[in-house]
């Protein structure tokens, strides 16, 4: 699974640390998600969608289907 978390985070002006605190996870978790090494749980993905005011499928998508 691929994601646009880094782009969205930077667009909304959050640092990794700020986003981690907002989501109640560690900064390392945000780094791992951005690098695609870790896929978040559904509740965490939905929380991200709420923060960025965008559907989850606009943040996370299957490999090879970015839009």
């Amino acid at each position: 699974m691929d994601n646009k978390l880094k782009e969205l985070r930077e667009t909304h002006g959050y640092s990794q640390d700020q986003l981690a605190k907002k989501l109640g996870v560690s900064r390392q978790t945000i780094i791992s998600i951005e690098k695609g090494r870790y896929n978040p749980s559904l509740p965490l993905a939905l929380q991200m969608g709420q923060i960025f005011e965008t559907p989850v499928e606009d943040i996370f998508f299957l490999d090879g289907s970015p839009d």
Binding site: V25, S26, Q28, S32, R37
Partner: protein, 132 residues
């Protein structure tokens, strides 16, 4: 550096110091056994595994302190892997004892298995935390 960061660094230093202490103790016991021309006491393995544990914890502490879902996954996967490693170790140890390659008392076997379990669990957590 904020207060939280300072506490984390203090814990990391404490774990490293503890690891060094255990390593020193384990090293001393190994050298003593070597000089006495005999096998090390079985407790030596446990002490050395405690050293591995402390060093791993000094690396893992900043991540472990926050019990988020990624850390839970790493913990679960580490324990799952360690379970199968335990079966493998038991099988090998059983073979060695059955074919009389080594002669161990029950307490020695338990100490060796415990040391292997501790080392495997903590090193697997370190590997997994680097992977995820």
């Amino acid at each position: 550096m904020n207060h939280e960061g300072g506490i984390i660094i203090n814990y990391r230093i404490a774990f490293s110091a503890l690891g060094s202490l255990f390593l020193l103790m384990g090293g001393f016991l190994t050298i003593a056994a070597f000089m006495a021309n005999s096998a090390p006491l079985s407790e030596t393995y446990t002490i050395l595994s405690m050293s591995v544990m402390a060093f791993c914890l000094s690396y893992l502490y900043p991540q472990f302190v926050q019990k988020d879902e990624r850390m839970q996954l790493i913990r679960q996967k580490g324990m799952f892997f360690t379970f199968f490693a335990f079966l493998f170790y038991s099988f090998i140890l059983n073979l060695l004892v059955e074919f009389e390659v080594v002669q161990l008392t029950a307490s020695e076997a338990i100490n060796i298995l415990t040391a292997l379990m501790i080392s495997t669990l903590f090193t697997s957590w370190v590997f997994l935390s680097r992977r995820y």
